[in-house]
Amino acid sequence: MSRLVISGNEAVALGVKLSRVQVVAAYPITPQTAIVEKIAEYVEKGELRAEFIRVESEHSAMAACIGAAAGGARAFTATSSQGLLYMSEMVFWAGGARLPIVMAVVTRALAPPWSIWCDHNDALSQRDSGWVQLWAESVQEVLDMTIQAFRVAEDEEVLLPVMVCLDGFILSHAYEPADIPEQSAVDSFLPEKKPAPYWLDPSKPAAYCTIAAPDTYMEFRYEMYRAMKNAERVIKEVDEEWCRLTGRSYGGLVDCYRCDDAEVAILLCGAWAGDAKEAVDILRRKGVKAGVVRLRATRPFPTEDLRAVVEGMDALAVVDRSLSPGLPSILWSEVRAALYDSVKRVYVKGFIAGLGGRDVTPGDFIRIVHSTLEGFRRGEPGEVEWIGLRGGESGHH
């Protein structure tokens, strides 16, 4: 086992190499480009024996991955922002086709206005696609998660594509030390890909992704629903197995930080959990029993785990690095839906922050916790507040 200082993007590329991916089809987009360039280097140097298709668009990238996976190969792509949206038709196709493709999404804000900086709207726009969505906090986790993603995707009880989300620039371009697992360890963890029974087999002619009339379409969708439910269990099992192999566990679907006796917690996904954890440490020193609930998966949405974690808490500050105009907050609304039936309902307040890469500091998270506690004490509705808007306007929704 070696220890290297690598970036988030390099960690993805290493994960792809260690996972012995067979077909890569990708189109460059900031801030994902280094992933694709690194993989191209591995392939050219013979370090990764794979077919690398330099497709002419993201839509074609996902189409090529679909063709490759249907042909029985382990396939991978990566994208961000506009590229993900351009690809969206095929993202949904991969989900419905039940192909175990893995994609790294280096999360980036959506245009217009043009922004190359981080937020989560791109990945979350695909939350209905049938893809498992996993979110990393550190470079180590990116590396581990990429490898685990293939395992989750190819599990016979799942057979759904998996997206590994890492924050644009904040994680993709951050350099951190990481333990690199041995190839033999990854080989034992990820068996050599056996084409699932339905891969296009020249000796067993069949037509794939045909029309399904109203009398069968719903059942196919039900199978996706079931697979996603299985994914909840499989993600945890895979996390446990990885821990036995490497000593590293991330908590399965939810990474809880100082939650055991917490009265209030910050709930979010992504790399800024690190800043939230710093804020929690500061608050704790001041006597506030705070914690962080980091969602590692937004799909499947970890309803059961979430209910268990927040039991005993008074208040939850859900911080969205995204906006759904008219809602307005995605994770906030999904959390409230998940907790709606709880006997003792936790106070859930929403915050929109960090859009287009705007910096969010531990100080901001401290203010978020105080605002949440105040709202809870005053019995106010847990509406959504904007953090850090210019001109001091953090208006209420």
Partner: protein, 87 residues
């Protein structure tokens, strides 16, 4: 459990759309005494509903023939006539 495969995978079969012979309003009839076994009707039938026997004689598969009439139109010796489909 719906009993379905994990996604829509269809297997090959004749009559995937049912007995398409039922679509016909006219049917081709081969006069075998005129037929020269050139096999153009077999070649040009979009359906594959002209059966080609071992000796290259041909026969219409009325289960699937849709009655388009291409065979009759292309027959170089007018061995195929198109007649109204009986009720």
């Amino acid at each position: 459990m719906s009993g379905l495969p994990v996604t829509a995978i269809a297997t090959p079969r004749r009559g995937a759309a049912g007995r398409t012979g039922l679509w016909r309003v006219e049917r081709p009839v081969i006069d075998h005494s005129r037929c020269i076994k050139c096999l153009l009707c077999w070649l040009y039938c979009p359906e594959g509903a002209v059966v080609r026997h071992e000796d290259d004689s041909v026969e219409i598969d009325y289960d699937y023939c849709k009655g388009c009439g291409i065979c009759a139109n292309e027959c170089p010796v007018r061995a195929i006539t198109v007649v109204a489909e009986r009720e």
